[in-house]
């Protein structure tokens, strides 16, 4: 308990990032009927900078349905009886009825075993015709509202091509769940202000496929282990712009005032990544390495379009270089839509963002979108090029995308900025682990696939990759990732493929790492004490792992890199391998007693660390350690910051300087006239 309280105190210091989700906060307020607003006002303040860090389709469940109330069911990867090779869609819309009028032509082939029938996902369709092409033979089929079971008329063997044509009307707005309740967020395709009746709101259509919702607007095999190329003809009134995956091949004006845009993506990707957006957008164009990079925003944000998606070309270069794997797709577009059901979605070459990223230049001064732009871009390698084969392995998409934020911050703004971000991520993970319980990163027993979009798949996934990078070293880490991408490009993966890429690169077994971090729950808690022996000039470090040994591994095998800091500013690093629950390490051959020792000398461990330090030791840690996490930990325990104020105000990283400034304010505040103090407190100007 002590560890947790100390951790909370530490994060309170980082008050801008303490709350893990605004929905959690509001739920608490409404459900607990806290009608006094004074205390909670501070909480709302603290969420302001953090609220937009809810990325992708991250879900905050009000309770943990997945652990207790739902029986544990193993979630297998979908069986592939056939392989979808190519999808052609010809799409029109009935805005008033909110229907999709579609014609789909699907090319497929038996996966291995011969087949006589195929089952396609297609939810809430009216099916007008199913034909075998090219002979246009009417097919016998059964449709239960969710799947079309088509009798092929004969047996097809592996290698034989089958082409199916389906004429249909999709009714995503009329979708209901199993209880008959209207589905609001999983409709797959959304009409926004379809009749144009809402003032100041644009008419738009956009799609959101992840997890398995694109089957609500076209027939497909809607599983992440499938992938196919695509062509899409979208017919809309000529005033609208369209966007889809791949290249815009042609745009043809029709006699009836409509226009048909033809989009084509040659490289295969998973069905959940198919997308479409229709609206009156302003389109800003750039080029990167001969590839189009386009930004679509509402016309009122024309001036800020580039800045909203700031650094996109630079990020394309950065990630291509870092991974030594050039951006693999044929364009990169980003679009902002209204009422998006998620933060952003990494549809291949056509990323959709919620309107919260749409800001004016002035708003962007203090609230840029770097983190989310980096996140979605990284998915174009991890998620779109190499895709998790089932949502159980979602962290192979989201963990990397989250870690991309760290990598970008480190590259662009320095390690301290990246480490600040790492602490927010760690806070998010701990919040969930302690409030809702922990589950393995690779979670074969989830309750609902949507539950996988949580602070484990995202935050913990990224934090574990950071540890792996620290263990392997920079060069080996990125060489392994390069191998993983090359070996698995355009295919579906599970975590073993990542492990094997690392093992093949390093020539070293890494099961111990992957088993404990990916396949088991939780994180370690370390209680650490230091005893210096003047006679032997050695430091005895006693470490106990005190995490719950029933739910979590009783022993986390941990490579340790302790740092000893000396009065002259020097530092010595000491590596150990911890493989027991209680273990003592001796740091020998010390010339003099260190001012302070840091157990996690590289600030890379995902875990709780209890180190009892005196104020002097905390001051030494703040002054001598270069690690942002160490500095923050020390600052949380240094009550009187006047002794380090000059150092704080000289810090390179703004966040630390701001802490310095705030401590000056607090000190001076006490000397202000009482009338000023009261007023400033009431208004919240000085907090």
């Amino acid at each position: 308990m002590h560890t947790f309280i100390k951790t909370v105190q530490f994060f309170i210091l980082m008050r801008r990032i303490f709350i893990s989700g605004i929905y959690v906060l509001f739920s608490i307020v409404l459900f607990n009927a806290c009608t006094t607003t004074k205390n909670t006002t501070t909480s709302v303040e603290s969420t302001k900078d953090f609220r937009e860090e809810l990325l992708d389709t991250m879900v905050f469940s009000p309770d943990d349905e997945q652990t207790d109330s739902v029986p544990k069911i193993y979630r297998p990867t979908a069986t592939m009886r056939y392989d979808l090779l190519h999808t052609k869609l010809d799409i029109r819309f009935d805005w008033v009825k909110q229907h999709v009028l579609g014609k789909a032509t699907l090319d497929l082939t038996p996966y291995f075993y011969p087949i006589k029938e195929i089952s396609l996902d297609a939810v809430n369709f009216d099916i007008h015709a199913v034909k075998l092409m090219p002979e246009q033979k009417e097919m016998v089929y059964q449709y239960d509202g969710e799947k079309i079971l088509i009798n092929l008329g004969r047996e097809y063997k592996k290698g034989e091509k089958i082409q199916i044509f389906i004429d249909y009307t999709a009714k995503p707005e009329e979708s209901t769940d199993k209880e008959g309740e209207a589905i609001t967020s999983d409709k797959g395709l959304f009409f926004i202000n379809p009749e144009g009746k809402i003032k100041n709101k644009p008419r738009q259509i956009w799609t959101q496929g992840e997890t398995e919702n694109n089957k609500k607007w076209f027939p497909t095999f809607d599983k992440p282990n499938e992938r196919c190329s695509q062509e899409l003809w979208i017919t809309v009134d000529d005033i609208y712009t369209t966007l889809s995956n791949g290249k815009l091949m042609s745009s043809t004006k029709n006699a009836d005032g409509t226009r048909t845009d033809y989009w084509k993506q040659d490289l295969p990707h998973a069905p959940y990544l198919f997308m479409m957006a229709v609206g009156e957008f302003y389109e800003e164009k750039e080029m990167w390495n001969q590839l189009p990079v386009h930004y679509f925003v509402e016309k009122g944000f024309k001036k800020s379009a580039k800045k909203i998606f700031n650094h996109t070309p630079e990020m394309l270069t950065f990630f291509s270089d870092k991974l030594k794997y050039p951006y693999p797709w044929d364009k990169y577009a980003q679009v902002v839509v209204r009422d998006f059901v998620s933060g952003a979605m990494e549809n291949t070459t056509a990323v959709v963002f919620g309107e919260f990223v749409q800001k004016t230049d002035r708003e962007l001064i203090d609230n840029d979108n770097d983190y989310i732009v980096a996140h979605e871009l990284m998915h174009h390698w991890f998620g779109n090029l190499v895709t998790c084969e089932e949502w159980t392995n979602l962290t192979l998409n989201e963990g990397f995308a989250n870690y991309a934020e760290y990598l970008w911050f480190e590259h662009k703004y320095g390690k301290e900025r990246a480490d600040y971000h790492r602490l927010t991520e760690m806070n998010g993970y701990f919040s969930q682990a302690y409030s809702q319980g922990a589950h393995p990163l690779i979670h074969y027993y989830y309750g609902n696939k949507e539950d996988m979009f949580d602070a484990h798949s995202y935050n913990k996934g990224g934090l574990v990759l950071h540890m792996l990078r620290n263990y392997t070293g920079e060069e080996a880490f990125f060489a392994s990732l390069n191998k993983y991408l090359k070996d698995n490009a355009f295919s579906a993966v599970e975590v073993d493929e990542l492990r094997m890429a690392f093992e093949d690169t390093l020539g070293e077994d890494l099961s111990w790492f992957f088993n404990q971090w990916f396949l088991q729950s939780g994180h370690p808690t370390f209680d650490v004490t230091y005893v210096y022996d003047d006679v032997t000039q050695s430091m005895k470090v006693q470490v106990s792992q005190t995490q719950d040994s029933i739910q979590y591994p009783s022993v986390f095998v941990m490579p340790l890199d302790m740092a000893a800091y000396y009065a002259d500013g020097k530092v010595s690093n000491h590596k150990f391998m911890m493989d027991q629950r209680n273990q003592t390490f001796i740091i020998e051959g010390l010339q003099t007693k260190p001012e302070v020792v840091a157990f996690d000398g590289r600030n890379s461990i995902l875990g709780l660390i209890n180190e009892t330090r005196t104020t002097e030791e905390n001051i030494a840690l703040y002054k001598f350690s270069k690690n942002f996490g160490d500095k923050m930990m020390a600052l949380s325990d240094i009550e009187d910051k006047s002794v380090i104020i000059n150092d704080l105000l000289s810090e390179k990283f703004y966040f630390l300087r701001a802490i310095g400034a705030e401590s000056v304010t607090e000190e001076r505040f006490l000397n202000m006239p009482e009338s000023c103090r009261i007023w400033f407190c009431l208004t919240g100007i000085l907090r």
Binding site: R362, D366, A661
Partner: protein, 191 residues
Amino acid sequence: MRASALQVLLTNSEEEVLPLLKRVVEAEQAYPVLGLALEALSFYDIETAEKYAKRNIEDKSEYITNSLMTVFAATGKAEYLSYFHEKLQEVTLYQLFDFFEKYTAYVEMLPSQNWEEAVLVLSNMALDSGEDPYKKFFCVNALLKLKDSAKAKEGQPYMILAEDIKNKLKDIKNSETDPLLKMRYSEMDIE
């Protein structure tokens, strides 16, 4: 960072702070700095703060709204009630706490006839079945607060107001269909 630095400078004497604040509100682009300066200026020189706040009144950014509301509330002038009501329509979930705290404090400063307008707007929103439940909940809380404030004030108009708010709260409570809100309302002391 500059907002934190400005906070430090706010602890200086009025003679030092005032010229600085005037310079900041004249030219500052970053909302956190501008907002802090406007709010602080309203403490030292409300007229100047009001002048600069009005200059930004058309700025729709949520990043400055809160500071503008602080300044307008500090003027105690009823002419800004419509600004608050316009913002009430636009206020997002993230801003609800700040907004309602400022809004109720502002209304309490106004003459009783302005309260009537505020009570009508709040109760209409609370009765609107298509409105966001969080916003409705905050409207009801604000009405409760205004009712208690009216009760504590002297004079016939405030007594009538308190009774009117009580009746409106009963209507809201009786007509609400959302189970969660119904439960919350049942725990409230409307009398």
